[in-house]
Each structure stands twice: as structure tokens, then as C-alpha cells.
Amino acid sequence: MGIETENKEIEIGIRENAKKLLSEKQVDVVIGYSEGTVPLSSTPIIIRKEEDVDKLVWNNLCYINIARYLAPLMPQLCDSEGNSLKIGIVAKGCVGRAVNILATEKQVNLENIKMIGFNCNGNVNRSRIDLEIGEKEILEILIVDNDIIVKGKDWEQKFPYDEYINELCKVCQVKSPSATAESCVGECQELESIHDEFADVAEFETKSAEEKWAYIKEALEPCTLCYSCRQACPVCYCNLCFVDQNLPVWFGKTTELTDVIIFHLIRAFHLAGRCVACGACSSVCPVGIDLNIITRKLEEIVKKRYNFTSGLSAETVPPMMDFSMDDEEEFMLEED
């Protein structure tokens, strides 16, 4: 089955489930994706009425992790008293993972949430396509069979789908949300454990320390500290981010490399055992920064050390929220 056909089926499934949830009053609203107003984009949308469900789309450009609207809960998802509405959420695998993480961290109450699950077939790597097209305006994106067709005025370029999806989608093992009791409708799967190869991390690790450092420095050079990566992250929900602390100022606020690197590395550390590998941070970056290799490394460490993959269930306490007297602490003394 071609991607195009798959998308159509997914889209129909999403709309049917959304319609059912709304008509049966199981939810008050459904958050999902709608067609974007510029190519290579989509707009998150809140559907309130049954007749609007046809605005929901699935087109491989749905890169925002819409779980980020749940914590902190956006005002449009609350009733007049400030209590959470019953929310249906269109959930690809990584949205499902984020909802579970938010539930284990007591940021959302799963009783108010219905996940509309489906088997995600990936998201287009928009920065890469943008980069390769260069200074020509993209007017239209189509998925035909297994190709991404990019059209402009008097030109057309074809990209093989499998090659031009997000790097994280290429290694993704959690295509749908887990069938967490009661919260899942549609195609949700049992995901007790998954195996992940981390070949991408192993490849990066063949670089020398200097090469890795050079890679990070080069990647971060264009950063404007607009914090869209943090804002797009479904699990970055702190009331006050460490970089925004100003009494006292914890970190420098300039765009000098030291300050920029501190923000990005510390944000990455805060995601250990929490990152759901959705790639929203790199997809939304206005200057195309992609440092997912760092969160992948953290994912690998957590997997190897604790046999834990974030967001597979809403019950298992993530390792960084837990401790056991038997935890190994060899890193306290040993040098690498």
C-alpha cells in the first residue's frame, strides 16, 4: 500500500473516531491537525462540533506534538471555571507517549483524555527539503505513491518518502499510542516493551570528542534562542524554565556560544527518560537546528541502564522519578 493510500485511510479513521467521540458526548473537543496555510506545514486545530471533523487531516506534515497543549492546559481547553474539558486527541505514537509521560508526572488526568490512536507512517523532514530546494518558493507538497512531490512555479522535484522523513521517524518503534486502559480508541497497540537498535547513536560515537564538540558547536551557531524547541516540546512544561530564572540569573542570556550551548545541553539532560522522540523540537526550529542525536543518546542510556522506554505506559514510574537502594552508582567514582 502506498503512503498516499495509507494517509487516506488514517484520515478517514481519525474523522470517524472524532465524530463518534463528539456525537456520543464522550469528549467536548478534539485536538488534531488541519491543513496548513503554507506548504510543508499543518495547523493544530480544536474541533468543537461534529460537522467540523472533516477539517482534521493526516498528511505527514503533522510535526507538532499536540500533547503540548495539555500541559499546561491551554485556556481554550478549560470550561468557564477553569476545569479541564473532556478532550479527544489525535494521537500518533509519540503524542501517545507524551500523554503517558504527562500522566505519570501528574500533569494530566487520563480520565479527561481520549486518545484517537492510529499507526503513524512518519513525518516529512521539512528542514531537509527546505534546504535542498534552496531559494525557490515551494507552492505545493503532495505525497504520490511513495514519493514526496514538491512543486513550485514551473518546477517540480521528487523525493523518495522513506529517505526524506524525519531521522527519528526512521528509527521509531512506537507507531501508535499504547492501549492504555480506557483512554484509547482507534488503532492502539499493546506496547509493553520495545527493542531499539540505536545504530544512529553508535555511528555518532565513532567520532572523536573534538569532532563531536565541533558538530554541536556548528549545529548551534545559528540559534536565536527563540525557544521554539522548548515551547514545542510536549514534556517541557515547567512554570518557569531555568533559562528564564532572573532572581538570580542562572545562565547568561546572550547568543554567545557558551550561553546557547548551556541552554540546549541542559534542556536535553532534563529530557533523560522523558523525551518521546517526536522530533517536534527540530521540526519547528526556524533556523533548522537538529540536535536529536543527544536525546537519542540519553534514550539509549536509559534503555540500557533501566530497560525503560518513555511513554509506553501511564503506570510505570520513569527511572528519573524513582530510586532504588540497589541503584548502581559506579559513575560517582569511575572515570570514563
Binding site: 480544536i46 518558493e137 526556524p286
Partner: protein, 352 residues
Amino acid sequence: MEEKILKKDEIGKLYSEFGSEYNFYAPVKKKGNIVFEKIENPDDIKLDYLNSRIPPKSILFPQSEVLFEYSLDEKDVEITDRQDLDEKYMILGIRPCDAYSYVLFANFFSSHGNWKDEIYLKKKENTTLIGIGCNTPRTTCFCTSVGGNPFNKENMDVFLRDLGETYLVEAISDKGKEIVKKLSWLSDANDKDVKKSQELAKQAEESIVTKMDVDKIVNTLETSFDHPVWDEISEVCIGCGSCSYLCPTCTCFDVIDETDQYEHKGRRIRIWDTCQSCLYTLETSGHNPRDTKIQRCRNRIMHKFSYYPTNYDLLGCVGCGRCIMVCPANNDLRDHLRKIEKIEKKEENVVV
């Protein structure tokens, strides 16, 4: 004929002519993005671009800029002012929309009572703009709705028009006339060149598809502060600052002191700030008059399309469409303005 012709392969000669006298900036391609950078190798200059990702406001108003340095002991503080304000800048290849943003900046930095921002204004005074017409506006561009034009040469010193193989060169200001005079090697343009440039300008203007009645929007906004439209507009905003950081007219900044306690010295730095940040209006008391996303999204639009026209009789938007291109949630300014355009103005709500 006053207009001259510059061959495309002679762009490097501009740099060799002025590169030593001026800090010579031009668009270059860097990791896929077009950015304005100080040129070291004229081969890097790229003038056939759509628009730069980061606006050239960053040349005269860098994201972080040291205002002065200081040393201090228990008794005294000694301030070292900037020594580089007499340096000259030449910016090649700036688009009309971005050039207009410099006018807004100069206005902002000189219109607060008697206080003038010496640092910005001096740099602006020492800047020469060699702008270029915009042959291919994007579908997200709407400069013609906000009083601009893809071939507006008003705010330039010298204006180039891309004719395919060559550039038509026109001196606009006195400063520009001096510059063109120095380029004695330029050949004269003929009527055909001028005619071609006029056709290109017409085509460019006609290719702009987004059209809005901005006067109506400005007028409607006067009475729409509490309108429910803001709930809708802010709905999917994720609260990052990319729209304002990459906006050529956003002037807001924060000021911080970085003190080195051991060396007894420090520097005062001006850093871009954004009204989309929750800290932006946070007061010392802990009160925040704009503590929700709805209020912050409203402020961005109000500032550009209501407060600016009211306070300065200018529009605070140049129609470059950058915020539309970069918004992570595709929260499209054009849609917002169209929604506002449709609001029926209620006269009784006018605040006098």
C-alpha cells in the same frame, strides 16, 4: 542617462571598491539559510534570494550588543563607552521591506521624549544601503497592503534592479550619488534596460496575491481590545518567540549587566526580547499584566497595527511574511488580519 549598468560578475568589484572603507554586509547562504553577513569573500554574495531568514535588522541591532563596559572598585565605577560608532556600514542587497524597517527602528530609537539612542542612530547615520528590487515576492508577502512595494526605492541610497544578466543601478540619495560617482567603470544604461526594469516591477507587484484593507484593520482594532477574536487567534500559538525575533520591525530588548566579581569589571548588554515571553511584562511585585497567551498574542498584533499607527502615524509591519513562514504552529498572521478585517466596528465601544 542617469541609470547605470552593473554586470553580475562585477559584484565583487563593489566589494573591492568599498570593502576596506565600510563594514560591507550582504546576503550569503549559510547552512541553507540566507543571512546578512560581513563579507570577507565577495564570491559568497548571493543576491538572487527570496528573503533572508533572519532579517537584516540584526546588522545595526544585533541580538546581543554590548552597550558599554565598566570596571568598578568599592569607591568608583569607570565606564568605557563604545569606540566603534564612527565605523561605516554598507549593506548590499537589502529588500525594500527590510529597508523600511530601518526607518521604523530609527523612529523607535529617537521618539522617546528628548532621549535618543546614540548607539543605534549613529550606526544608522553611517550606513549606506544598496538595495535591490524584489522580482519574485513569495505568496506570503503582502508589502503592497502595508504601504510598501517590491520595488520601493524610497529608503535606499542606491537601488539595483535585477535584469537577468545585469543590474540596473540608480542613485537615490545624495550619499548614493557619491557612491555611484565613485564607480566610474559602470556603463550607461539605455532605454531598453529601464523599460525592462519597469516591466519586472509591474510583474512583481501583480504577483502579490495577499491583499488586505489595512486601514480598516487599524480602525477596527481601536475598538476590538476585548473581542473574542483573540481567543481564536491565540488558540494554537505555542508561545515561542520566533515570530518576533525574526520580525524586521520588532525592536524590543532587555538590558542585563554581566559582572565579573573576580576581575571587578563587567559589561552592559542589550539583548532582543519578545512580548511573547511570559517574563516580558512580569513586574517586580510578581504581578504580570499580560500573563496569558491570549494577551500576548493580542499585543503583537495591536502593537504593529494599532499602537504604532496611533502613536507614530506609521504601520509597524512591512509585510515581509517572515512570521508566517517560521511559525511552528502555522499560526498565520494573514488569517488573523482577515478575521479582524471582518469584525463589524461598534461605535459605542470607542474609548475616548
